[in-house]
Symmetry: C2
Subunit: 310 residues, 2 copies
């Protein structure tokens, strides 16, 4: 049975975006409000979005951080003043209906699997390359949730134990290298070592102000130094994808997040280094790489689908 | 339905060990032969073991390396002259029955899950700490196989990209640090830096000949320098377990392989460093750690159970 109207809300660092899907999966309603600070204010904002969406049969919420199977956000590095926030149960109480909740990147994975780049796949790993790295894992045609519901925190896989400090408290997490912040850092390192003249020019002349976007722009112009940074970045992305392949053996990686928008730029380096790093690369099929299709709606659409995949 | 007699054979680097399980899971027949070199000789040896086991209703084989879903061993770093070896289909042809095949560590995971330390668990990750590191993953109460059947190669998760060279062709694989070989290497580094007097004495006076066993022995005597090496080793084990927790969120880790025999020695350091490395350790349940129970029979018992879990 496909339900008539499925609502989902994605709680981001800056906005709460809600949608309603019709039985075909089309978005038939949409509402957004700024994300306020603190748990009570967030619940109020979610109630406001839910009401603005009109009626619905099921509702789900995606939130950044560790979400338990019963819908409690245990810890959220990127939301202010939040820990042990019972977002699912509290919203359920206010709305008078059951509310499913899960991690926002997990929601994005569900959305791409059910309605985006991964339709029909049984073995899919979603990797969102944004400020950090989020993830979601589909295996055996089901969402991998783990004992507590915390599975898929792929950005905090340590790939360099003496490496860069991470806000999570450890060093060398994959997201310090292979995210948008990682690209910016690689670029600033190269710029302060006087290896990125054109990029520094694009950034207004200050090597400390170089951002990932400047590197992308120079690389698209064909600037060799910028392309070298992109290659180094692709190496870090590939390293993590190979680790995930060793563990999960997916048929498909769906790459999402801000960096996926200019993903074509990274595909060559990622493929090259993936083959370099993979064990016995000539004796096995390689997972395919696809870019996410649902863009900013992925989290909300996936939240709307939680009732069906949990 | 539980089948009457289930046969399983574990193909190791030195021996092929076969067992038959009765409906209760008890081992009612056992046979072993040395592992010969080359695919034809291995098939002959497997036929010999199968015949010596007497009659059976189903049969499975565990082999080291990447095993496809249809039973082909694609690549095997630790078997001589083996690649693209159709062990399942070839043995099936010789025996006239269907043969299930899978990776040996995956078989061990299945055995511990069904009949050992992980009975009744839905979310379990097995880690075999031997010469290398193997693994097997149970999630949602099912064996995680991946698209090709290659999932669970946890030993080749890169945790230090500029680190020690691995026979797999890359650098810094987890098994270079957290396996028996890793312990030996850590000990020899400390010994050649004159930090392990008692251990060197136990090894006969030559720092280059120090082995993991010597460190274990000195540590059990209470030698502080040996205990420091055990602590460093436990840190590497914990690092990988935290990565696996971030990805898979298991309720239970089952630790097997040669090192598990003196596992009590490592438990303290592993727990300590696991808590150090985990994100938000105070806000979440930690996975339990248990030691494997089926010892040298785990691979063969798991192979015997493949027909039921594939």
């Amino acid at each position: 049975m496909t339900l008539a109207r499925r609502a989902g809300i994605d709680v981001g660092g800056t906005k709460c975006l809600g949608v309603v899907l019709d039985p075909s999966g089309a978005i038939v309603a949409e509402h957004r409000v700024p994300t306020p600070k603190g748990p009570e204010a967030i619940i109020d904002a979610l109630v406001e979005v839910a009401r603005a969406l009109g009626g619905f049969d099921t509702i789900g919420v995606g939130v950044p951080g560790l979400v338990t199977r019963d819908g409690t956000l245990r810890a959220a590095p990127n939301l202010v003043n939040i820990s042990d926030f019972q977002v699912g149960p509290l919203l359920s109480e206010r709305l008078g209906v059951r509310v499913e909740a899960d991690n926002d990147a997990t929601c994005a994975a569900v959305a791409e699997w059910q309605m985006g780049a991964g339709r029909g796949e049984q073995e899919l790993t979603m990797v969102t390359l944004g400020t950090g790295i989020g993830g979601g894992i589909i295996t055996g045609g089901r969402l991998l949730r783990g004992g507590n519901g915390f599975a898929g925190e792929i950005g905090h896989m340590v790939v360099n134990p003496d490496g860069i400090a991470c806000p999570c408290g450890r060093r060398g997490c994959w997201e310090r290298y292979a995210s948008g912040s990682g690209l910016g850092r690689l670029a600033r390192e190269a710029a302060t070592a006087h290896r990125l003249d054109r990029v520094v020019e694009l950034a207004g002349g200050d090597p400390e102000k170089v951002r990932g976007e400047d590197v992308q722009k120079a690389a698209l112009e064909g600037d060799a130094e910028a392309l070298a940074v992109i290659d180094e970045f692709g190496k870090w992305v590939a390293l993590g994808l190979v680790n995930l392949t060793n563990l999960l053996d997916p048929d498909l990686f769906v790459l999402g997040g801000g960096l996926a928008a200019s993903g074509e730029l990274y595909l060559g380096p990622i493929h090259h280094w993936f083959t370099e790093y993979l064990y016995a690369p000539h004796l096995r099929p390689h997972p395919r790489l696809a870019f996410a299709q649902l863009q900013e709606f992925a989290g909300a659409v996936g939240a709307a689908l939680l009732a069906e995949v949990h």
